[in-house]
């Protein structure tokens, strides 16, 4: 079962620069929540605080709470490693491990965690994950070729396969389809639909049709002006967001009259 995330009064800083201000959002378990908004408004930034990935950027820090099933991720006794095991992530740019074959890439999460897995289990897992990412047919004959030998779209799908192969509770995706063609995009969307039975999904997307198609809830982030911090402007279930938004900015953005 997926887990819910509650973000309370979150401020995010890059050094002294307040990038995102006072975010409050409740992300439901086993639902797909989409983040939309103009470029630079902090979608990626917020997303990365949900599995403490922002901590990799020196100086980046968070105020407020992020509760995963009621437990604050930022409590002192919480190990970011275990957070990231429970909350998986797929990035904007495909980043397969260049030293590994396609197969090893998919298994990386399991193998690197020192879990021993029998060859047949590994084969099953690889096939399951690659099928889910709609990549199986293209690569099944060259699983031992390096992952970076694939085209951009193929690489991204490989990364998705790698992330889901760990069976996280929550999967964060930062524009996972921006390098994919419509076919692959559709497959990924199907995958997301399927995954939400087991996991909670948060996805950043620029493609509003995509948000409308797959998300149960949509969060619209905005930016008052350049240099100002971004903020969560409006959060609603997707139907409301796209058909009857109760927020003027959101409506302008969605109808394309923004800017």
């Amino acid at each position: 079962m997926g887990q819910r995330i509650d973000v309370n009064h979150e401020n995010i800083y890059y050094g002294d620069f307040l990038a995102v201000e006072d975010v409050n959002i409740n992300i439901e378990a086993n639902k797909v929540t989409a983040f939309i908004g103009p470029s630079g408004c902090g979608k990626s930034t917020v997303l990365r605080t949900l599995d403490r990935m922002h901590e990799l950027i020196p100086g980046a820090h968070v105020e407020g709470e992020v509760l995963l099933e009621g437990k604050n991720l930022y409590d002192k006794d919480v190990d970011p490693v275990s957070v990231r095991r429970d909350v998986g992530m797929v990035f904007q740019r495909p980043n397969p491990f260049p030293t590994m074959s396609i197969r090893e890439n998919v298994l990386a999460g399991v193998r690197l965690n020192n879990k021993h897995i029998s060859k047949s289990d590994a084969d099953d897992l690889v096939e399951w994950a690659l099928r889910g990412a709609n990549l199986w047919n293209e690569v099944k004959d060259r699983l031992d070729n390096p992952g970076i030998g694939l085209s951009g779209g193929q690489q991204q799908r490989l990364c998705i396969a790698r992330a889901v192969a760990v069976h996280p509770q929550v999967v964060l995706m930062d524009e996972p389809c921006s390098a994919l063609d419509p076919i692959s995009t559709l497959a990924v969307e199907d995958l997301i639909n399927e995954l939400k039975d087991d996991y909670t999904i948060v996805i950043v997307t620029h493609n509003m049709q995509q948000a409308a198609r797959i998300a149960d809830y949509t969060a619209f982030f905005n930016l008052k002006a350049v240099g100002q911090p971004g903020h969560l402007e409006y959060f609603a279930d997707t139907t409301t967001m796209f058909n009857n938004p109760q927020n003027a900015e959101a409506e302008r953005y969605i109808s394309g009259r923004f800017g």
């Binding site: 919480v78 275990s82 429970d86 099953d124 996991y199």
Partner: protein, 318 residues
């Protein structure tokens, strides 16, 4: 292949390994400080008689090194320092442009199959020991290069650096600088080549896409990307040149004291490291202290040079 049952935020395994690894890395970082402190303290300790010892014995010892011309430590070490820096800078100037040229040749001009061979040759040359360069420089280059330096002295002698007459045999700063340049060339070349090869394709394509020629592409994408690498390679090279002992020892005709930039004349300058090597075997205890004192100065000067270089890199990076 359904999801396993997991409770939120289970403590993960490997935490101890994580901590140990971190601790070891940290300790190794600190070790650098410890080692350097040890080296510094040792040098200082061994050079201490120069400051805290019998000053009369000190000046006698220094006089014995210089045939009575100089009896103060500074009077002894400063000309040596001048010579060391002069030789190293000349070597670096000669090597720098050639090295960058070769590095670019390998990374961007030569076909891939040729480039692999060439880089291998360069790597190999980095490994040629200084004692072999000493042999080669002293026995082969010195006589071979005389006509060239003689020509330079005759035609460019108005320039103080090249004031003639050119010594024969050419056991001069100029020849030593050439040998040191050859020695440090592979260092700069192989490091900058590695960096140049790492230039993101995207940057190179961006430059080409704007209609840049190959050279313009290199100026736009490759050189800026490699700049800090080039500087750090040059620093390594300078460090090696400053500390080079055997090749200088086996080639240079040194002076006892004095400052001179007449690089084509013999017995004009000397370098600290080779001076230590030349004097150490026959030196008594106090003599060794004096030599270590000069070593300490060399140590400090490399500190200053590297510090300045680092500041330059920082500025360029900002």
């Amino acid at each position: 292949m359904s999801s396993q049952d997991k409770t939120a935020l289970q403590p993960s395994g490997g935490k101890t390994a994580d901590k140990v690894f971190r601790g070891v890395a940290y300790a190794c970082g600190i070790l650098i400080l410890v080692v350097l402190a040890a080296v510094f303290l040792f040098l200082f300790f061994r050079a201490w008689p120069l400051i805290g010892g019998d000053q009369k014995a000190n000046s006698e010892t220094i006089s014995s090194f210089t045939g009575g011309k100089v009896s103060s430590f500074w009077g002894y070490v400063l000309p040596l320092l001048f010579g060391t820096v002069l030789i190293s800078i000349l070597a670096l100037i000669i090597a720098f442009f050639v090295s960058i040229g070769i590095a670019l040749f390998i990374s961007h001009y030569a076909p891939k199959s040729v480039a692999t061979g060439l880089s291998y040759v360069i790597d190999l040359l980095a490994a040629i020991p200084s004692v072999i360069y000493g042999l080669w420089g002293g026995l082969i280059l010195v006589p071979a290069i005389y006509p060239f330096w003689n020509w330079v002295a005759n035609h460019l002698g108005w320039f103080p650096l090249f004031a003639g007459p050119a010594a024969n045999p050419q056991r001069t700063v100029a020849t030593v600088a050439v040998v040191l340049a050859v020695m440090v060339l592979p260092i700069i070349t192989s490091m900058s080549r590695d960096i140049f090869l790492q230039t993101p394709t995207l940057q190179q394509e961006a430059a080409y896409g704007l209609g840049a020629t190959k050279w313009e592409m290199i100026k736009l994408a490759v050189i800026p990307f490699g700049r800090s690498g080039i500087v750090s390679a040059s620093m390594l090279a300078l460090g090696r040149a400053l500390g080079e002992t055997m090749a200088v020892l086996m080639i240079l005709s040194p002076s006892v004291t004095g400052y001179s930039i007449k690089i084509l004349q013999a017995s004009q300058s000397n370098a600290i490291a080779s001076n230590i090597a030349a004097q150490c075997p026959e030196a008594n205890d106090l003599g060794v202290s004096v030599l270590i004192g000069t070593g300490l100065i060399l140590f400090l000067i490399t500190f200053i040079v590297n510090f300045a270089a680092r500041k330059i890199t920082e500025k360029a990076g900002a």
